[in-house]
Amino acid sequence: MNVSLKLLLERFPQSEVFEKNPRRLYIKIPRADLTAVAKFLHIEQGMRLSICTGIDTREGFEILYHFSEDKSGVIYTIKVLAPKDEPKVESLGTWFPAALWIEREMHELLGIDFIGHPNLIPLLTSDTDWEPDRYPLRRDYEQRNEAHER
C-alpha cells in the first residue's frame, strides 16, 4: 500500500478509501477533519493542490480536493460533504494561497461558504451585472432545467 495513504489512515482512522486504480485514490473524510487532513497532505507529505471540484448532489454539496503527489504520480482526492441547509466548510486559503482562487470560484458558482477566507468576492463575474445569489452549477438553477426540458 502507498506510504502516504497508510500514514493518513493511521492519523485519520475515520477516512473511507476507494481505490479506483493505483494512481487514483478517493478518500471520504468528515467535514471537521478537512484542515488537518489538508495540512497533513500539503505540509507533511509535500503534495500539490491541483484543484478543487464542487458538485451538487442529492446528499448535499460534495467538495473534492485533488492533491497530486508528484513523486509517485498518485492523485489523492479528498471528499467532504456539506449539507444543503448549511453549505459551509473551513477555508484552506488562510494558510495555503493555491486554494484562494478556487474557493472564490466555488463560492460564486455553487454558493458554498468558506469560513475564514480573507476575500470571498466573485472571481469570474466581478465586473459583470451577474446577480450574486444565482448559482449556475446548482441542480435547481432555472436555466439548466429549461435546457433539459427542451
Binding site: 486504480n21 494512481r23 509535500g46 504520480g73
Partner: protein
Amino acid sequence: MSDEHKIRRIVPIGPYHPLQEEPEFFKLIVEGEKVVDLEIHIGYNHRGHEFISPELTYEQVPFLVERICGICSNSHPLACVLAIEDCAGIKPPPRANYIRSIIHELERIHSHLLWVGLAGHFIGYNTVWMWAWRYREHILQVFEMITGNRNHYAANKPGGVRWDIKPEQIPEIEAALDLVEKKTMMLTKAVLDDPVIRARLEGVGILTKEQAIAWSVVGPTARASGVDIDVRRDDPHAAYDLVPWNVIVLPEGDVFAKAKVRLLEIFESIKIIRGCLNNLPDGPIDTRIDEVPPGEGIGRTEAPRGEVFHYIRSDGSNRPLRHKIRAPSYMNIASNVVAVKGGSIADAALTLAAVDPCYCCTERMAAFEDGRMKYSSKELLRLSWEKTEKLRERLRPKHQTGQSYR
C-alpha cells in the same frame, strides 16, 4: 526623498493584457517606479464550459474543450479523453498512444516558439520575434499535413485518435524537425549568449521555490523555480514512458530561467517525436467505448504551460454529470501577485507575460487615469524597450564608443 514620491498610485493593465491579447485586468500598485502590490481580476473570457459540458455527449465534449484555447488546442481534449477513459476503465491501442504523444509534442514546440517570439518583442528584440515565428510556421504546416488544420486538430477521441500518420508523411515530419532543430539551436545560442538579453532578464520577476510550492504553480513556471514536476514523467500517459527524454529544471526562478526552460524543452520535444516516429507500432488507432459506467475519472496532461486537469463524473448516461476543467494558467497567473512585487514598472509587463498566459482575441487596452500616471500598452512597451536600450549602451564594448584615434 520627498513625501510625494511615496504616494501609492495605481497602474491598470487591462482588461486586455498589453501584449498577450488576453482579457485580464492587472491592477499594479506602485510607489514611484517600484511595484508594491498587484490585484488580478479575471473572468472577461468566461464562457461557461463547465456548464455547457453536461449538456453534451462524450463524443462531443472533446470538441467543446478543444475550443477553450487556440494555442494549446490539443491539451484540453487529451486530458478530457484521458478522464473519460479513466472513468470507463479502457486503454487506447498502442499506435494511438504514440500518435497522441507526437501531436502533443508538436504543439509544445509551436507554443514555446510563439512565447519566445513574444518575449523577444517585449524587450525590443523584434528579430527574435520574426525568427521564432518563421520557424514555427514549419510546425504548423506539419499539423496541416497530418490533421488538415493548422490549429484545432480534432486529434483525440475517447478510445483513440482520429488521424493516422501515414508512412509517406514520416519523412516530411522528420525533415521539418531537422530544420526546426537546427534553427532553434541557432536561436537558443543567440538568445542565451546575448549579454543584453541576459542583463535584461536575469533577476527579473523572481518566483522562489517556496513560493512556487505554496501557490502550486505548474509547468515551465514551476520548473524554472527548481520544482521538479512534469506530468508526462510523473503520471505517464500516451507514449511518454516508452521513449527517452529529460525534464528540464532550473533553480533561478527569474524570467531568464523561464525562457531557458522553454527553449531547452523544444529539443526534448523533438527527441520525443523522433523516438515515437522510430518506434511507431502498427495496429488500429481507436477502440470502441460501449458505455461509460457510473463513477469518476481524472485525466491530466502536461500542456505547454503546465498541468491540465480534467475531472469527469458519470451517472451511467451518455453525458457527464459534472466536468471540472483546470487550465495551467489558473494556477500560474495567481502567482504573479508575488513574482511582480518589488520589481519596476518596466519589468512588470514582462514578468506578467513570463508565465505564458494563453491568449486570444484582439489587442486592446483601456488606460484609466489615477493620480498623474497614465500608461497605455504602447507606453509600457516603450518603457521596456528603453530599459533594454540603456543596458545595450552600458554593455557596449569600450572600443566601439571610445574616442577615435584618427
